[in-house]
């Protein structure tokens, strides 16, 4: 994406479009990747509560459906907190 010149930017550093932080994919800061095992998962959603990046994906029925790797920074809190060891961390290969 080409960045705007100073002549095109809104003044005063304001951001006119709400939710623009969504475009900033922080997932690429990750050095460890969480691997979710749906077989072991009991959908208690403790990982959802603890995830600092809101990267646990949950459907409308309240079931966990996976991990949003666009924003997961790989902190490993989910692995630590999961009561069923349904998440484990692996080294991110890039």
């Amino acid at each position: 994406m080409a960045l705007s010149s100073w002549k095109e930017l809104p003044i005063g550093t304001i951001i006119t479009k709400p939710g623009s932080a969504r475009e900033f994919k922080t997932g690429d800061w990750r050095s460890q990747r969480p691997i979710w095992d749906p077989e072991k998962c009991i959908h208690c959603l403790i990982c959802f509560i603890y995830c600092p990046d809101s990267s646990i994906k949950v459907n409308s029925e309240g079931k966990m459906t996976g991990i949003d790797l666009d924003y997961c920074k790989g902190c490993g809190i989910c692995e630590e907190e999961c009561p069923k060891q349904a998440i484990h961390m692996e080294i991110e290969k890039r």
């Binding site: 960045l3 809104p10 003044i11 005063g12 709400p18």
Partner: protein, 388 residues
């Protein structure tokens, strides 16, 4: 138009009453206290619709003002000296956010040693914060320029400091021609914000790193470049409507002069009397009132001053660069591109409120005659009224 006897502080407070800003957040400090005090009484008496925020420090005052301006309100405050210094970091933030705010400031020396009297070290110390800076010569100027500052600030989208000289103007009563309330309201018009928190969801003050920060600063520089046009436009409109002329620079008896004295603030008034007396004696000297310090009117100064033999600068503050006062340093730089430059001499004077009288200013011109004769400046930075 009503005529009233007002001090500089009363004149500024009266302008604020007529402007009727949405928000005033302020903290008292000598010699600007009265401005805030009088305004607070206007609020208490129901004469204005302003939300008055009595905060716990100047830092909070300008922070509250910045927030309110960013939210789309018409905002004013007042301070001096250490108070302006305590505002320092937020001055940059207000300018960076392009928040239109007007500070009615009183120029007072910076401690230490502690002193409550006039010099320009507080205001000059804030000159790179991104604010337009206007020096008022007397209470009439203070009144008129405060009203103009609202327009300037909201059109350029930069905050503005209008200042008077401590006690010399702030506490000296003089005749002031006041406009009617509705004339002021008509002149300033309704407040228009470039953006408002209440209209659309926006983010104000985000982290701005290597990829964008530079561009946003470049926009601020651009606004400063464009501001002279607006300052002149507003002054012209004011002159047409109310008959009093302002603008960037005021030339006084510069026609036919060989040398020019340049100054800011109340000293210009005293200098006018000195110039009149000198002219009667046949000494060819004029005065240039540098009303706006930021943006610095370098192009105009170059054009105006290049053909004179000598320019003497009266600086009521000093840079610690050992190169003299701020007006001198910047004027010297502005004249660099002239094919033939005038000689320049800087006079530091009046620090901590030391009086400068007509004779001392006349002396500057008399010394100037000698310098012109010798065509050489022996002492580029000198002092007036200092015990050696």
């Amino acid at each position: 138009m009503p005529i009233r006897a007002l001090t500089g502080n009363e004149a500024m407070a009266e302008a604020m009453r007529q402007i009727n800003p949405d928000v005033v957040a302020a903290y008292p400090i000598t010699p600007a206290t009265e401005i805030v005090q009088l305004f607070a009484s206007f609020v208490a008496d129901g004469l204005v619709d302003t939300e008055f925020v009595p905060v716990e420090s100047e830092h909070s005052a300008i922070a509250a003002c910045t927030g309110a301006a960013a939210a789309g309100a018409r905002v004013m405050t007042s301070t001096a000296s250490q108070g302006l210094a305590l505002m320092h970091e937020i001055l940059y933030i207000a300018a960076g956010l392009r928040a239109p705010i007007v500070i009615c400031e009183v120029n007072r020396s910076m401690s230490s040693p502690i002193n409550i009297h006039c010099d320009h070290s507080d205001t000059m110390g804030s000159r790179e914060a991104g604010w337009i800076q206007i020096f008022a010569e007397d209470a009439q100027d203070a009144y008129d320029l405060t009203i103009q500052a609202i327009r300037i600030s909201e059109e350029v989208l930069l905050p503005v400091i209008v200042s008077t000289d401590a006690f010399i103007i702030s506490h000296s009563m003089q005749r002031v021609d006041i406009l009617e309330d509705n004339e002021v309201q008509k002149f300033i018009g309704p407040h228009k914000s470039p953006y408002s928190l209440f209209e659309k969801t926006i983010t104000i003050g985000p982290l701005d790193l290597q990829d964008y920060f530079f561009e946003h600063k470049r926009q601020q520089i651009d606004a400063m470049w464009k501001s002279p046009q607006i300052i002149e436009k507003v002054a012209k409109e004011f002159a047409t409507k109310f008959g009093r002329t302002y603008g960037f620079l005021e030339q006084y008896r510069m026609e036919g002069a060989e040398q020019v004295i340049i100054a800011c603030g109340s000293t210009c008034g005293t200098a006018r009397v000195a110039i009149d007396t000198l002219r009667e004696k046949g000494i060819k000297v004029g005065l240039l009132n540098l009303r706006v310090m930021r943006p610095f009117p370098h192009a105009k100064l170059l054009e105006l001053l290049k053909s004179f033999k000598l320019v003497s600068i009266l600086d009521r503050s000093v840079t610690m660069s050992t190169m003299g006062g701020p007006v001198y340093v910047e004027l010297r730089s502005a004249l660099y591109d002239a094919p033939e430059r005038p000689l320049l001499v800087d006079y530091i004077y009046g620090l901590g409120g030391r009086d400068i009288d007509v004779e001392q200013i006349m002396d500057v011109a008399l010394k100037g005659e000698q310098i012109i004769k010798k065509n050489k400046v022996e002492k580029p930075v000198d002092y007036i009224g200092l015990r050696e």
